[in-house]
């Protein structure tokens, strides 16, 4: 595989996949620790109507409006779940199920309607992303990495994701203490005066941010895998939070790169012509990694009753 083929066709997708995976894995660590993994499920479903609505309103695939739409949708969902829980006193898992499936169905409906307009979102892309098509045609080889003219032609998702990931990392460092404290013992954190509800909401917003930016790469369904699998696998490898974060980054990177390669080249190796879904393969690989850590991980044992 020469640089002339790899750099334009495979390098950007792999990088985008890795960045998306890490961006999701970071908040995912905390979602898993707080036993809120299914909020990741909810977020990945509710960003769809947010994105589609923003798109229908602005009639353009503009990144900022999609981000705003998704953020608004996530906020709306969180508020709705809380309100319904208070009014009905029904168990929160079931309420989450009601809210996020309804919003997702709304997103699907709007998506189908959007096919009538000039620029449209493909249902398949919305569900499964289009990582394979995020190519860099201006590149000629490894040298292009240093060529400003070629770099101008980079798929915009790449710098956007890099920026988002940088933002998430900054937020993580900035709010490390309140986040860890409230994750470990929310009652105690509250007694110290920490605004636990704001922290919780903040975490959800960051996850929504990651979900939206990863949406382009892997679509909405696979995002759940990126929230949960690398972080869960990391949890089984270590008792220490900092190590867990690093492990999750490592697993996310491995899932994204190995997943992309298997999807792109695997079929060729067994004699088929076309590649298979990169997003699906990334999710499957992340699940495989989790399975391996569940069987061999040094810290996998449950706490004895």
């Amino acid at each position: 595989m020469s640089g002339a083929e790899f750099v334009p066709l495979s390098l950007p997708p792999i990088l985008i996949g890795i960045l998306a995976a890490i961006a999701c894995a970071l908040p995912g660590n905390f979602l898993v620790l707080r036993k809120q993994a299914l909020i990741g499920d909810a977020i990945s479903h509710v960003v769809l109507p947010g994105i589609v609505l923003a798109f229908l309103v602005t009639q353009a695939l503009d990144a900022w409006s999609m981000l705003l739409g998704a953020g608004a949708a996530a906020l709306f969902a969180v508020v709705m779940i809380d309100v319904i829980k208070r009014v009905s006193r029904i168990e929160v898992g079931a309420i989450m199920g009601v809210v996020f499936t309804t919003l997702f169905a709304l997103g699907v409906l709007l998506l189908e309607q959007s096919s009538a307009s000039s620029v449209h979102l493909d249902v398949e892309h919305a569900l499964m992303g289009n990582l394979e098509s995020l190519i860099w045609l201006e590149a000629r080889g490894w040298a292009s990495l240093l060529d400003p003219v070629a770099l101008a032609g980079l798929p915009p998702e790449l710098p956007r994701l890099a920026l988002t990931l940088a933002l998430i990392i900054v937020l993580l460092i900035l709010f490390w203490r309140p986040l860890t404290l409230s994750t470990f013992d929310e009652g105690y954190a509250e007694s110290l005066g920490l605004p636990v509800r704001a922290i919780s909401l903040g975490l959800v917003m960051v996850a929504a941010l990651a979900a939206v930016t990863a949406f382009d790469a892997v679509g909405s369904i696979i995002v759940i895998a990126m929230f949960i699998c690398p972080a869960a696998a990391a949890r089984l490898m270590t008792d220490r939070l900092r190590s867990q974060i690093w492990w999750s980054v490592g697993f996310a990177t491995l899932s994204a790169s190995l997943g992309y390669v298997l999807a792109g080249y695997g079929p060729l190796w067994i004699g088929l012509e076309n590649s298979v879904s990169a997003a699906g393969m990334i999710a499957a690989v992340s699940g495989l990694i989790l399975a391996l850590t569940a069987v061999f991980g040094p810290k996998r044992r449950p706490a004895t009753a």
Binding site: R89, T304, A305
Partner: protein, 263 residues
């Protein structure tokens, strides 16, 4: 010191609940180790011991609710499977979500499952049994109340009524007096004593040492192993209490129990 008495004796066929060599573990942590127990017929037996000592586990293992590692259990001399209809189990209140959509009568009728099975309609005489059970615990006016609106004591009464509806011969209760008010405690012990007078056998995991001698005639002390069992006068002694509670029971507490005339 591990007391391995009765370990080679056959299980007493007269005993409503006879256990030999019972061991249970959760994961790799042993909850019960080689426990023997022979409950006397028509008796009221208290199972006592410190927290986490395996008392609830003992009942659950006897009923097959949790799997056992080893040991044998006989109910009225026979295997559990054939005698289930003669046992009524009253679990801890905390094990249930009281926000479940059911009213008091719905819960009591659950006790009739052995009689009505999966499909049979609930008939007038079934309703009568439920009403009678509720009356015996003083809850006859509460039949249509949502269970989430009940106090702790009232919930406990409903649980007891459910077991009464089963018309069993052996009653296994897990901490029936925990967190209940004085009136309810009096009501419950009165029901249990009447059961004993009717010839039934009652076994209860009990948390309050000061009422053991007043309420029960037999006692079994558990701390992962069996420390002592037998009639209260013989088994409920300072030495046994010290051993069971492993120093968690200050001598002062035991002295107070003795002074109050509890034993």
């Amino acid at each position: 010191m591990l007391r391995l008495h009765q370990n080679d004796q056959p299980l007493d066929p007269q005993s409503p609940l006879a256990i030999r060599g019972l061991s249970v573990s959760y994961g790799e942590k042993p909850a019960l180790f080689s426990v023997d127990l022979t409950v006397a017929p028509r008796s009221m037996t208290a199972i006592i011991g410190p927290n986490g000592a395996g008392k609830s586990t003992l009942l659950k293992a006897a009923l097959g609710v949790v799997p056992r590692l080893s040991g044998q259990v006989s109910i009225f001399g026979r295997a559990l499977a054939s005698e289930r209809h003669r046992i009524a189990y009253v679990p801890q209140r905390a094990s249930v979500d009281w926000d479940f959509p059911a009213n008091v009568r719905d819960v009591v009728l659950m006790g009739l499952y052995g009689k009505i099975g999966l499909l049979r309609r609930i008939r007038r005489d079934d309703q009568a049994i439920a009403e009678d059970a509720l009356a015996r615990v003083g809850m006859q006016d509460f039949a249509h109340r949502q269970i989430g609106q009940l106090s702790g004591g009232q919930q406990q009464r409903v649980f007891l009524a459910r077991s009464l509806a089963q018309n069993a011969d052996l009653y296994l209760l897990d901490e029936p007096f925990a967190g209940v008010d004085a009136a309810t405690e009096a009501a419950i012990i009165s029901v249990l004593k009447k059961l004993k007078d009717e010839g039934k056998t009652v076994v209860a995991v009990h948390h309050d040492l000061s009422t053991v001698t007043a309420y029960f005639d037999h006692v079994a002390m558990i701390n992962t192993r069996l420390i002592a069992e037998g009639p209260v006068a013989q088994a409920f002694t300072t030495a046994h209490l010290q051993e069971a509670y492993g120093g968690r029971l200050a001598t002062a507490q035991i002295d107070r129990l003795r002074e109050a005339g509890h034993y």
